[in-house]
Symmetry: C2
């Protein structure tokens, strides 16, 4: 046996669900929200979270070892990251997405093998529901979900505001912008721009409230609609972020065509997503996200920059380019 070949990487990956579920349970229990007010001693924390003594210390110390908590003596506290992003009382909370993973996706991924064999979704669709009913059906859940999406898109919005040549344009429409995390960052950075969020009507009040909190209501408006039944509102730039991957090939091409129709000659179409590297060797997150689209949708899938460029070229866009934004996300840009 070659000494260099060890089982460690295999075991670490195969047992990776232990560490993952430990963090998801911590979020579910509100651990980081309890610690958002300051460090707590072991006994107090155990009581607040209603933890049984048997595994309480192992649970907390496992989170220390995973870099999600700090421990000083027997006082536990949040790290800078978990304090900012996992304390429910802070506007920067992104735990909603991980709460959703804990409540839904962890179980649905349990039948990944069935999904790989049938190509069928493994979520509520198996019993007649769908993801969007789950998210849009309950107002409180919708608000939290949209807020989580904002947290996840924040870094992307900041990067997109910097990296796209906004000076050459006057207006944009962000299609399916949800709470408005991305349009707000763009509008904050570029005072000459006006923008809109084209999304399902139920999202309107949540968007309007968020935009007003930044004093941007005069430049950012909501336009309710459904991109399957309606044309997209006209603008110099159309943005679609984390939208195309939800849909099948035909629907993707239909949406790209609508974007082409909505911009003037010289206008731009910006797609951002966890774009897979063209060699399909590096961006694990994008490839696994595509499997997640199989779990969650009837026909959705993620794609490479080259894939997206070719679809956009077919629709008439020119000067295509791919540029990294933040984390696993890149943008694909085309000009009409």
């Amino acid at each position: 046996m070659n000494k260099e070949i060890t089982i460690d990487s295999i075991m670490q990956l195969g047992l990776g669900f232990w560490a993952s579920k430990t963090l998801l349970s911590a979020i579910e229990m509100g651990l980081f929200t309890e610690l958002g007010k300051g460090p707590l001693g072991y006994e107090t924390l155990k009581e607040r979270l209603n933890l049984h003594p048997r595994s309480a210390r192992d649970f907390l110390d496992a989170l220390v070892s995973l870099g999600m908590l700090e421990r000083n003596g027997s006082n536990y506290s949040n790290t800078a990251e978990t304090d900012l992003f996992l304390d429910k009382t802070k506007p920067s909370y992104i735990g909603g997405v991980l709460e959703m993973c804990n409540a839904r996706l962890y179980t649905f991924w349990g039948t990944l093998t069935e999904g790989l064999r049938t190509g069928e979704p493994q979520n509520e669709a198996k019993t007649g529901g769908n993801l969007f009913d789950f998210v849009y059906g309950d107002p409180a859940r919708l608000r939290q979900f949209l807020s989580a999406m904002t947290g996840l898109s924040m870094g992307i919005g900041i990067a997109l505001a910097k990296k796209f040549p906004w000076k050459e344009y006057r207006s944009f429409v962000d299609v399916g912008a949800a709470q408005g995390g991305v349009p707000v960052q763009i509008a904050l950075a570029h005072e000459h721009l006006t923008g809109a969020n084209f999304d399902l009507p139920v999202v309107g009040p949540i968007f309007d409230e968020y935009v007003a909190s930044f004093g941007l209501s005069n430049r950012l408006r909501f336009q309710g609609g459904d991109f399957f039944n309606d044309p997209l509102p006209a603008a110099d730039v159309i943005i679609m972020g984390h939208i195309l991957h939800d849909w099948n090939m035909e629907e993707k091409r239909m949406l790209i065509k609508k974007a082409y129709e909505a911009v003037p000659s010289g206008g731009a179409f910006v797609v951002f997503e966890a774009i897979i590297d063209d060699e399909r060797r590096k961006n694990s997150f994008g490839l696994l996200m595509s499997l997640n689209m199989m779990i969650e949708t009837r026909g959705g899938f993620d794609y490479t920059g080259a894939d997206c460029c070719s679809w956009m070229r077919d629709a008439g866009f020119r000067h295509l380019r791919v540029e990294h934004l933040a984390g696993p996300d890149s943008m694909v840009v085309g000009i009409k």
Copy 2:
């Protein structure tokens, strides 16, 4: 917002179950066994595994990106590691443990939060069964499970054969040695030693067969028994590997006491385990393994080197020391 603080590490950990379950499904489907005979083209592999075309490429390329497969053109092949350890036809196969994770633990960890709140196991025990019934109840499953344990213990056995001063002793008993992976490595390295496996009688034939395959039947024998009801067989050195963590405090102390009674004055007791670092800050695997003991057992838990030394000292052992063996495992050694 501090630019240095990103959500990436949180999202990577929280969504870690995607990558983990992808590997577990690949093992379940026998992907690495198919590729054990040599590289296969995409179409052939898809057909052999009965993969639906929708996500087949994403699944395989995700495994490439995770370092579990290689791809040359459109031919997929095993890496050196996955070829050695995840091809079922090779004696080095360790996939049995991960098959067990896929079939049982992934789901049981889904109710981690309940376990943390109640301190109760989350496995078959919830419906009246137990892990050992599951493993020992079916001969084929038992054989595969014990073989997987051997694979996992191989590196530890090799390290233990090197790092313990075996020249000072003539005999050893490995308590719960299963198929005998560790005793075989020790006996291969030290011709003057005789050893025994003290384990449940059902394990006997599987141990004898494995030992015979190395021509060691004259030096390694099986002794059937139950460490709750029987004393341990006498020997210069008693070994317990991955045993103590299955049991509660009282049971741990009882087992350590039985080890003390089984060795002569000057004899040694060697415990190996995914020993947690004394500061409980670094060995995530050991801490998560302890949570796994909560999921799997009524009272089991993992522990630090200092914990183990103190229990062994209480039982009468002296000259206590902790030494790293391989991967996450260390040994704790005490002398009577």
